[in-house]
Symmetry: C2
Subunit: 376 residues, 2 copies
């Protein structure tokens, strides 16, 4: 799952607004399994609640205040990206679960519009309403790019949604799912409709960290690897723990673990945030260097509850021709897609035409990403 | 231009948040030239400011409070769409212009990230940063769908951006631009880089309302009509003044004013808001009924500062084959696009491949819009 940069507000009686004046969105980042937001102090003044979210190691400071609301109970989850002076808020109505694992706080909220919302360490991870876009695209784009994926590795994605999409492909014989926190998996298994993914006999769950798993993985074993991880760095260039999953060494291990015709797909941030865009350029050159992947392409996904309504992925193929879509391949993808639908395991966002369209970006973005290789 | 549903906050010393508890986003709609938000009362309590935005004729009520900020001067523009429990805020740093025309308040702000922001009657209309996406797509998709557009009509779009994009096409001989408020045009002419659009000798400006202009337009005159208008109704079905531009009679007049191979394109709201989606379905059936347009297709645009990061258009063609893109047509579009670029009038968002890709929607959306006509 994409570990989003949300600030969570927890009033019992009031609508809350948090306004942060820190200089960079970095301190709101979910930092892998070591969250940035380390303490929260709740104070009650009459019918008002005041919540201060304190970032212990960020240079900036945060400020929050609960405003009186005419609604008797309204919870909001607000994310601010100070790099672009933009924030967004979703409203939730009920707390369904509050617990803590060895690694983090785990919460599930009910939103009238967005359905159940998974929140880890005060960071929104997924909503039932628009989670299909991100997770279906993360899974089916690489699965369909490969002609017949049998062995799949999913790194991260502890909510299980990417895993459940991968399992819709009847060619799959074996899936390794690598995530650190077994308790998140237990919670998602219970609360989300895709929660039976881990019961599939093809799945082997490994509760270890992704970078060490891939370092020891069998060479040439996997047809497809999907990395659904947290963000690697903040807007100010601050290095976050998950950045090891975006580094040269890790990419080399991933490459080595893939079969000759292998496909690697990973969460690669947002076009509309400048530091994210710089990340896309940097990762792409790492992945193409040292005689590694022959094609690395950025694909785009529309998703209302992710900042700026957009998130993307980098699809990396060992063979250049694997990335090329032609009529013959598209016909095969449509056939495979029809078979999935006939098995009553269809999608709601992914459709075969997006196998081409998702890579058609705004002109200026394509020019920056592909440089002299850009063609109209 | 798309008349967005923003609430604008105006502190001098503080960061402001407005939280509305109304039942429908309708009362935040820009209602054509008769704005919904009719009065604002500013009260000062010590270092705090309280802003109440009063909707004089909406059933719901609004509540706002300015929170103290550690920043000495921070202005924010917040839009809330209560239908989906979602809101977003952009931060601006300076007020560049505050004036009033016969019809509305006109303001221009500076945003550190989004550039200049045009605000009419407390409703954000356009930002320099991401205005390219909406305006380039609104203009070039229909212009490129037509083999050689000579006579063009732009309804609305008082900021001039769509007009300036239309004028990039060397085939254009005559453009009628119809908008009501000459003062908005004067302001945009001065403040925005595309403000010289009205100086083009091919342009005739008509300051009248679009529905009466089209009623009296010469039959079969226009090759392309672009309608860049405000939203037609609120989430609760509330009818807004611009709804006349989305009604059967108006669509018939538009159809009649188009040449045999004519193309009509108009702002058609957001996939992610249920009432907007119902509008798309309704307008599409009106446009296809009574032996009118032969193809009506929804295209999508990614734009961070519009709610949910997405807006769309309905492209309507008198001939079915005009809507079909094939290799021969795409080659011609690429040639025309190259010629525009060689004239140093290139785009930053629109590129020829979007002429196909923009119509590839999430699967569930396509299934609802096209029903039994849907093909993978």
């Amino acid at each position: 799952m994409h570990y989003k940069r949300f600030i969570m507000m927890l009033p019992n009686l009031s609508l809350i607004n948090v306004n942060s004046n820190q200089g960079a969105r970095g301190c709101f980042h979910q930092r892998g399994w070591k969250p940035c937001l380390k303490s929260a102090v709740l104070c009650t003044f009459g019918s008002f609640l005041l919540l201060f979210l304190c970032d212990c190691d960020a240079a900036g400071s945060e400020f929050s205040r609960i405003s009186e609301s005419q609604s008797s109970r309204q919870l909001t989850l607000t994310e601010r990206i100070s790099e672009i002076g933009f924030s967004q808020t979703i409203e939730v109505s009920d707390v369904l679960l509050e617990t803590r694992s060895s690694f983090q706080d785990i919460k599930i909220y009910q939103s009238p519009h967005f359905g159940k919302v998974l929140v880890l360490d005060d960071v929104v991870q997924i909503t039932e309403r628009d989670g299909d876009s991100y997770n279906e695209m993360m899974a089916h784009i690489p699965m369909m790019a490969h002609p017949s994926p049998k062995r799949v590795l999913v790194i991260g994605g502890g909510d299980g949604y990417v895993l459940s999409e991968v399992l819709k492909h009847p060619s799959v014989e074996h899936v390794d799912h690598v995530d650190l926190d077994a308790e998140v998996i237990d919670v998602c298994r219970k609360y989300f409709p895709w929660g039976d993914a881990w019961d599939d006999p093809r799945v082997r769950l490994h509760t270890v960290d992704g970078s060490s798993f891939i370092r020891n993985a069998q060479k040439g074993f996997y047809d497809v690897i999907v990395q659904d991880s947290s963000d690697p760095f903040g807007d100010d260039g601050e290095i976050l723990p998950s950045s090891v999953l975006y580094e040269k060494e890790h990419f080399h291990h991933l490459y080595a673990a893939l079969a000759d015709n292998g496909v690697f797909n990973f969460q690669a941030e947002t076009l509309g945030i400048p530091s994210d865009f710089n990340g896309i350029l940097k990762w792409r050159s790492l992945l193409l260097a040292d005689d590694m992947f022959k094609a690395v392409r950025y694909g785009t996904i529309a998703i209302p509850t992710y900042p700026t309504g957009q998130i993307g992925f980098l699809l990396c193929t060992k063979k250049k021709e694997t990335a090329v879509m032609n009529e013959r391949k598209m016909a095969s993808i449509r056939e495979r897609f029809n078979a999935i639908e006939e098995n009553h395991m269809g999608t709601t966002y992914y459709q075969p035409r997006l196998q081409i369209s998702a890579f058609d970006l705004p002109l200026a973005a394509e020019r920056r990403i592909y440089g002299s290789d850009f063609v109209l």
